[in-house]
Amino acid sequence: MGARAAWMVAVALLLIGGVVGGLLRAGVAVPVPDARAWPGHAVLSHAFLMVCGFLGTVIGIERAVAAKARLAFAAPIASASAGVAALNGAPTLAAWLVVLAALSFVMVNASMLLRQKVAHIGVLLVGAAAWFVGALLHAWGGSAHGTGAVPWWFSFLILTIAGERLEMTRLMRRRAGAAASLYVVLGGLLLGSAAFSISATAGAIVFGGSLVALAAWLMCFDIARRTVASHGVSRYMAVCLLAGYAWLGIAGVAWMAAAVGHPLRDLALHALGMGFVFSMMLAHAPVVLPALTRVKVQFGRHFYVPLALLHASLAVRALASLSPEFLRAGALGNAVAMAAFLLTLLASSLAWRSKHRSGGHAVRAHD
């Protein structure tokens, strides 16, 4: 098996493990083999598997491919191993492997900042550092105090996305103070994450307020407002982004409401993790997948199907506080949306192959 195929299998297993854990948590009767212990471990490690195992590995691979340095793959190797360790019931080993992954990832981003000293790479580096802080809290805190790690893990994902979006805003005429206001918002996010370990209520309110502010910033300044008027894959990406920003705002309100006692914790976590972060993933997959796997995809309108499924099922899940049935149906819908997305990618790569089967050029000399 080639390295790319091995990565694809590892990432798919981490995603399946995380999703099965999430479905079982939501009370969906997933047909899992009784004799196996991994589904139980997946339930306990759901957030860890999704953020550090699956997304941490995908982001680590993305950055390593951009860095063009073999050593940069240490981060995704460690995070993927952490996910496997968690599924095999070795949470301590898994936690420390993620510390190693995050530390390696900080170094990869620091080396990038040395190569291109621009603000958005600085934001990516701070995001990597947030992952490292969250990983340390998780590894040291154990299951009793490890929940303080979750806002840091989310900060890692949010700053990674914010850094990438900040880069794109350079193409637009930006109003004075746009970048500075983003740094204030991201500072609030980190402050909320830090405060969470001292007072979960105060931390969640600051964190949630920062999410609302970030959603407003992205709605005002992101290029998606312009590119939604374009066509094809560019328009699809913009639709994913704008839908994600709406969920980011909803997540912020839910974080604040949950902090003062409203039963909205599931919405707070999943509007952010699924509505915002997975929407970004759906947006970029048709472009990033060929870069990571060398598998090209033929874009078409069918890409909107999993996107619609994701947001419709999240809307159902948002009603979870009214009845556990909504939670179960919403969680199942989320999983179906992800499966539909993987099928869409598979079908699109086969479509690209059949369209370009007759292609090919004569080989010429290269440097």
């Binding site: 993305e62 950055r63 491919v65 951009a66 860095a67 063009k68 981003n109 990038m112 190569r115 291109q116 621009v118 958005h120 790479i121 990516l124 850094g163 990438e164 880069e167 794109m168 350079r170 193409l171 637009m172 005429r173 290029i223 312009r226 590119t227 374009s230 066509h231 094809g232 894959v233 560019s234 328009r235 990406m237 048709p286 472009v287 990033v288 060929p290 870069a291 990571l292 050029h361 004569a362 010429r364 000399a365 290269h366 440097d367």
Partner: protein, 118 residues
């Protein structure tokens, strides 16, 4: 114009040095390479720093907007594939990625700037 005469075109969207008859095909080839998120060609975004055809080699110098972009390699391959259609087969194609000088929005074409609200 004499085909063997080098053409240093100032009006082109990027500095070009090479046979005049290849200037437009090369520009068209580079315009066929798009930044997927923007639905804009790399020429309009201002990522092409220059093209020089000399001594059996076609050298294209490009930049990207971010070192953290994983799609860079795909764009470089697309550039090479598009140039492969128009550059004479006996010439080598060399696509060089540079980070200095850094990209800025001033490099965008008038139409790209208009689309982005400048």
């Amino acid at each position: 114009m004499n085909p063997s005469q080098p053409d240093v075109a100032a009006e082109a969207p990027f500095p070009y040095t090479g046979p005049a008859e290849l200037r437009q095909p090369i520009e068209r080839a580079l315009r066929a390479v798009a930044d997927p998120e923007l639905a804009m060609s790399i020429v309009d975004v201002g990522l092409v720093y220059g093209v020089t055809l000399r001594d059996g080699k076609a050298k294209v110098t490009v930049t990207m907007t971010s070192v953290a972009c994983p799609v860079t390699e795909v764009i470089l391959q697309d550039i090479e594939a598009e140039l492969d259609r128009v550059i004479p087969p006996e010439m080598m194609i060399d696509v060089e990625l540079v980070w200095e000088p850094g990209w800025n929005a001033e490099r965008m074409s008038a139409s790209a700037r208009a689309f982005m609200g400048w």
